[in-house]
C-alpha cells in the first residue's frame, strides 16, 4: 500500500522541529515522515476490517507530530513506525462507505468494557491503550498495528466503524471526527453551565475544532451567548455561520466577554466572565487569557493540545477555576439527561451544518509536503481544513 509513515528517528524529529519554525513543507521533507510503499497491516481477528480511505484530514496533532513538537507524554502511548491520519472517511472491502471512530478502545483490544455499550473513548483506566494484542497506540493514526488514514489502506475494529448514508458527501464525512471532538468539548462546557438559562461561553480559536465546538454549543445550548475570538476572515465568517453570537479578533475577546458579562476589570482579570471558556488554541497565552476571562468557579475546557506551557496559576487557585481537558469523545450525557454516542451525534451535526464548508483543499499523498505546508498555514491562507484525497490512488 502507499502510505505516509512516521519512523522513530530522534535526529529527524529534532531536524523537523528546528526547521518547522521556518517552513512546515521542508520539515515534512527532512523530518520523520516518508512516503513509502509498504505492506498493509494484518487483520487482528474477524472483528477487524480493511478500510480504504477516500479522504483523510490533517489535524493539529498530526502536524505537531510531523513537526517534532509532540509531547514526550506520547512516547509510551504510540508505537513506531506508524501511519498518521485519524479523520477518515473510507470504504470497506464490501464497498460500504464508513467513517472511523479512531480511538482504540476496550473492544478493539479485546478488553472488558468499562460499562455495557461503552464507546471506544470511554473508561477511566487507559492501560488497554498500551496492551496487546495491538502495539501501543491511543488511536488509529498513532498505532503501528492498525495503520492510519494517510495511506491507501488501514484496519479498523467493528466498534470503530460507522456506516454513513449514501447522500452524505465524502467532503462532509471527513469532518465527522473533528465535529465529534467539538461536540464533546461543547457538552463539557454546557454541563458546567447547566444552572443558568443564558450561559455565556467564549471560544478561543476558530480552526476546525473551535468551529465544531461553536456549532455544537449552538445546537445543544440554543440560548447561550457565544463569543468567539478568531484570527482570520474565513474563520470569522464560519464562526458566525455556525452560531456565534459575536466574533472578534483574539485581542478583542476579553473586552467582548467583559461587555457581555457586564462585569468589571480588576487588574488583568475580569471580575466575572464566561461560565465556560473553550480554549481551542492550547498554548501559554491562550490558557492565560482563558484564566483571565473565565468567571470564578467557571471552567476552561482545553481543546487544543497544549504540550508544555508556562502560565501563572494563582488566578486559577484564587478563582477556583476548573481546567479540564477535552481529548476526544465517547458516550455523552445530553442536557436532557439522555445518553448518546458522540460519533452518531457528530454525523447528525455534520449534516446540519454542512460541515464540508470547513474543507478548504485536498491533495494527493504524493503532494504531502504542499499539503502539510497548506495545513500549517491554513488560517493565514484563508483555509480551515486540509485533507488528503486517496480517491484517485492506484493502490486503493
Amino acid at each position: 500500500m502507499k502510505a505516509l509513515r512516521v519512523d522513530r528517528s530522534t535526529g529527524r524529529f529534532m531536524l523537523a522541529r528546528l526547521v518547522s519554525g521556518i517552513d512546515t513543507g521542508t520539515a515534512a521533507k527532512i523530518g520523520p515522515l516518508t512516503l513509502t510503499n509498504c505492506e498493509p497491516p494484518a487483520l487482528v481477528n474477524n472483528e477487524w476490517q480493511r478500510v480504504h480511505p477516500l479522504l483523510t484530514g490533517i489535524c493539529g496533532s498530526d502536524l505537531a507530530t510531523v513537526e517534532g513538537h509532540a509531547s514526550t507524554y506520547f512516547e509510551h502511548w504510540v508505537s513506531f513506525p506508524f501511519v498518521p491520519g485519524h479523520e477518515i472517511v473510507g470504504t470497506l472491502d464490501s464497498g460500504e462507505r464508513v467513517v472511523i471512530e479512531p480511538v482504540l478502545g476496550h473492544a478493539a483490544r479485546g478488553a472488558e468494557l468499562p460499562f455495557p455499550d461503552a464507546a471506544p473513548g470511554d473508561g477511566d483506566d487507559y492501560a488497554h491503550l498500551a496492551m496487546p494484542p495491538l502495539e501501543p497506540g491511543i488511536q488509529i493514526g498513532f498505532c503501528n498495528s492498525t495503520g492510519g488514514g494517510w495511506a491507501t489502506e488501514l484496519i479498523a475494529h467493528a466498534s470503530q466503524i460507522h456506516t454513513i448514508a449514501s447522500d452524505m458527501p465524502d467532503e462532509r464525512a471527513v469532518l465527522v471526527e473533528p465535529v465529534a471532538g467539538g461536540i464533546h468539548a461543547a457538552l463539557l462546557a454546557i454541563s458546567h453551565a447547566n444552572k443558568t438559562e443564558t450561559p455565556l461561553f467564549a471560544v478561543l480559536g476558530a480552526g476546525t475544532m473551535g468551529l465544531s465546538a461553536i456549532a455544537a454549543l449552538r445546537k445543544y445550548s440554543p440560548q447561550a451567548t457565544i463569543i468567539v475570538g478568531a484570527r482570520y476572515p474565513a474563520q470569522m465568517r464560519l464562526a458566525k455561520t455556525f452560531g456565534a453570537t459575536s466574533v472578534v479578533k483574539p485581542d478583542e475577546l476579553m473586552r467582548a466577554v467583559r461587555h457581555a458579562a457586564g462585569c468589571h476589570v480588576v487588574g488583568d482579570y475580569l471580575s466575572s466572565g464566561t461560565h465556560v471558556t473553550i480554549d481551542a488554541v492550547g498554548n501559554s497565552d491562550s490558557i492565560a487569557l482563558s484564566l483571565r476571562m473565565t468567571r470564578p468557579r467557571g471552567r476552561i475546557v482545553l481543546m487544543g493540545m497544549p504540550s508544555e506551557v508556562t502560565t501563572d496559576l494563582t488566578g486559577l487557585w484564587h478563582r477556583e477555576t476548573q481546567l479540564m481537558g477535552a481529548y476526544t469523545y465517547g458516550t455523552e450525557t445530553l442536557p436532557n439527561g439522555t445518553k448518546q454516542r458522540t460519533f452518531l451525534m457528530a454525523i447528525e451535526l455534520a449534516n446540519e451544518i454542512r460541515a464540508e464548508q470547513m474543507l478548504s483543499a485536498t491533495y494527493p499523498l504524493s503532494e504531502y509536503q504542499q499539503a502539510l505546508r497548506h495545513a500549517s498555514e491554513a488560517g493565514a491562507r484563508g483555509a480551515i481544513k486540509v485533507a488528503f484525497d486517496m480517491r484517485q490512488e492506484k493502490l486503493r
Binding site: 459575536s246 466574533v247 479578533k249 478583542e252 473586552r255 467583559r258 461587555h259 457586564g262 462585569c263 468589571h264
Partner: protein, 528 residues
C-alpha cells in the same frame, strides 16, 4: 472691519488648498473650474472690557430682573457651567467661565449668599481633571470651592441626586441634577461655540441623565434635524425646548448667561492655518513647509501633545443674560453673525479636512468614531437650509484614522468599535440592538462616575450624530487613513486625494462639482 465669509471659485491660478489631516495637514490641488472653497468670516472684534461687559449683562438682563435682586441670604444658589468640550481649542487663561463665575460669586457675596454650589454640566461627558478645572475656572474659584465639596461635576448616574421634574406631552422625562432642581436660583454659564449650543440644551442636556437624554439623543432626532445648527429645523432643539417648558413649570428659576466667542482659532505660530492660501506670504509658506516637515518626522504621541497644548486666542464677542429663550435668541444671532457664509447651491462632492480636535477628544485621542462624528456629525451639519452636498453625493475627508483609542477616556468606544461596528454600521439598527446594553453596563458606569471616562452610551450618540449624513450621502471616502479601520466604519479608504476623486467618480461621474469646507475656523454654510 473683519471680512465676511467667502466662496472662492477655483481656477488654474488658485494655489493648492490646505487640508487638515488630524495632527498634520497637506496642500491639495483642487480641479479648476468646477471646485470652490468656502472660507469662514474673519474673526470679529472682541469686547474690549470683558469684565465690564459681564457685569453689565448681569445687571441688565433680558426679560428678567437684575441678578442682584434675585440673590438673598439663606438662599440655595447653584452655578452650572459648560464643560471642557468647548471652546475648541481651549482658550487662553482666563477662560470666559472663570470671569463670569467670579462676577456672579462677587454679587452673591455682596448679597450674603453662602450656600453656593458650582457644578460642571457634564451630561454623559467625561469628568474633568483638576488641572482642566483650574484652567477653566481659575485657581481662586477652584481653591475656594473644590476642597469643600462645593465645586463638583454632575453625575448622571447618581440616582440619589437626580430629580424627575415631569414629562413633556411627548412622553419625554425631564430629570436633572437634584441640587440644581432644588435651588432657589440656577445660574447657567455658557459658551456658545456653535448654534447648536445653549438655550434649554444647557440645562435640559448638560444637567440631565440618560433617562432624559435618550429622548433626543437618538437616530430619529438626528435623522429629522435639518440641521441641528438651525434650531427651527432641529428635532434636537424641539425636544429640549419641550423639556424647557417642564423646567419652567416645575424646575428652578434659571438665570441664563450666554457668551459668544470670535473664531480667532490659532495662536501666532499656527496663524497661517486660518488664512486664505492665496494670501499666504513668504513667512506663512515657510511656516507651513517647516511645520509639516517637522510633524512628518515627529512621533504620533508627541504630535498629539503639541496640538493639544494649543490655546486659542479667541475672545468674547458678546454676553447676554436673563431668561433662557430670550437670551438664546440674541446669542444665536451673534453666533450666526460670526459664522454664517452664504453659499449658492449644493455640490456633488464635499471635501473636508478633519483636524486634531473635536468636542470629545480634548487632551485625548481623536479615535475613529470621533473622526466619523466630526466629519459627518459636525462638519456636515454646519449648514442652514440644505446640506452643502447634494443627496446621493460624496463626502471626502482627510484624516489618518488609526485604530487608536484613549483607554481611560473612551473605554466603551473601544468595545463599540470592536463589537458593534463589526455587526452593523446602520444607526437605527445598532441603536435597537446594542444601545441599552452599553448604557446600562455597570463597568462603564463605574468608569464614568469614578474615573475620567465618557458614559457607556456615548459612542452611540457620536454615531447617531452622523446618521443624517449617512442617510444623505452616496459614499464616504477617507483619504490617508488606516484602510481596515476605515472599512470597519463602513467607509471607503483612499491613499491620495486624486484616488478619492477617482473612487468618487463611480457615484458622481467624471466631472463633479467639488466644494471644500475650509474649517476650522468654525462656520455655518447658509446654502441657498
Amino acid at each position: 472691519m473683519p471680512r465676511p465669509g467667502f466662496v472662492l471659485d477655483v481656477d488654474r491660478s488658485t494655489p493648492p488648498i490646505l487640508f487638515w489631516r488630524g495632527e498634520n495637514y497637506s496642500l491639495e490641488k483642487l480641479p479648476a473650474d468646477r471646485s470652490r472653497v468656502i472660507y469662514a468670516p474673519e474673526p470679529e472684534a472682541a469686547i474690549d472690557d470683558i469684565d465690564s461687559a459681564i457685569r453689565h449683562a448681569l445687571l441688565n438682563p433680558i426679560e428678567m430682573d437684575p441678578l442682584p435682586t434675585l440673590l438673598f441670604p439663606g438662599m440655595k444658589l447653584t452655578i452650572a457651567f459648560d464643560d471642557i468640550s468647548l471652546p475648541l481649542p481651549k482658550m487662553t487663561r482666563p477662560d470666559i467661565r472663570q470671569r463670569v463665575i467670579e462676577a456672579v460669586l462677587d454679587l452673591a457675596a455682596d448679597a450674603g449668599v453662602d450656600d453656593v454650589h458650582i457644578i460642571a454640566a457634564l451630561a454623559l461627558h467625561r469628568r474633568m481633571t483638576e488641572d482642566e478645572l483650574r484652567h477653566m475656572l481659575g485657581d481662586r474659584v477652584y481653591d475656594a470651592f473644590a476642597p469643600r465639596g462645593m465645586l463638583y461635576q454632575h453625575d448622571a448616574e447618581d440616582q440619589d441626586n437626580l430629580a424627575l421634574l415631569g414629562e413633556t406631552p411627548h412622553g419625554e422625562e425631564v430629570e436633572i441634577n437634584k441640587r440644581a432642581a432644588e435651588s432657589d436660583l440656577l445660574v447657567y454659564v455658557n459658551i456658545n461655540l456653535v448654534a447648536m449650543d445653549g438655550g434649554w440644551k444647557s440645562t435640559a442636556t448638560g444637567l440631565s441623565s440618560y433617562r432624559s437624554l435618550r429622548h433626543h439623543h437618538n437616530t430619529h432626532t438626528m435623522e429629522n434635524s435639518r440641521s441641528f445648527m438651525d434650531q427651527h429645523k432641529s428635532e434636537l432643539h424641539k425636544s429640549n425646548w419641550r423639556m424647557g417648558e417642564i423646567m419652567k413649570k416645575h424646575g428652578p428659576k434659571i438665570f441664563q448667561i450666554e457668551t459668544t466667542v470670535n473664531n480667532d482659532t490659532f495662536p501666532s505660530a499656527f496663524d497661517f492655518l486660518g488664512k486664505r492660501e492665496w494670501e499666504w506670504n513668504a513667512r506663512d509658506r515657510a511656516k507651513f513647509v517647516a511645520s509639516s516637515a517637522a510633524l512628518n518626522r515627529t512621533p504620533a504621541r508627541m504630535r498629539r501633545n503639541i496640538f493639544q497644548s494649543i490655546e486659542a486666542p479667541h475672545q468674547m464677542t458678546s454676553i447676554q443674560a436673563g431668561e433662557v429663550e430670550a437670551v438664546h435668541k440674541v446669542t444665536t444671532a451673534n453666533v450666526y453673525r460670526q459664522q454664517l457664509v452664504e453659499v449658492q447651491g449644493q455640490t456633488d462632492i464635499l471635501t473636508m479636512g478633519i483636524p486634531f480636535i473635536c468636542p470629545y477628544n480634548v487632551n485625548s485621542i481623536m479615535n475613529p468614531i470621533l473622526v466619523m462624528c466630526t466629519g459627518l456629525g459636525y462638519f456636515f451639519n454646519l449648514y442652514r437650509n440644505k446640506p452643502l452636498v447634494r443627496e446621493g453625493g460624496v463626502i471626502i475627508m482627510t484624516h489618518p484614522t488609526t485604530n487608536e483609542f484613549h483607554p481611560v477616556h473612551h473605554p466603551s468606544y473601544i468595545d463599540f468599535f470592536e463589537q458593534v461596528l463589526t455587526e452593523t454600521t446602520v444607526p437605527s439598527e445598532l441603536e435597537a440592538r446594542f444601545e441599552k446594553k452599553f448604557a446600562e453596563d455597570e463597568w462603564y458606569k463605574h468608569l464614568y462616575r469614578t474615573g475620567n471616562a465618557y458614559h457607556g452610551v456615548h459612542p452611540f450618540y457620536m454615531w447617531y450624530w452622523g446618521s443624517h449624513a449617512l442617510q444623505h450621502c452616496g459614499k464616504v471616502i477617507i483619504v490617508g487613513g488606516d484602510a481596515p479601520t476605515i472599512r470597519r466604519l463602513g467607509f471607503t479608504p483612499a491613499s491620495t486625494f486624486n484616488d478619492a476623486l477617482e473612487i468618487a467618480s463611480d457615484v458622481v461621474g467624471r466631472s463633479p462639482t467639488i466644494t471644500h469646507f475650509h474649517t476650522p475656523p468654525i462656520m455655518i454654510a447658509d446654502v441657498k
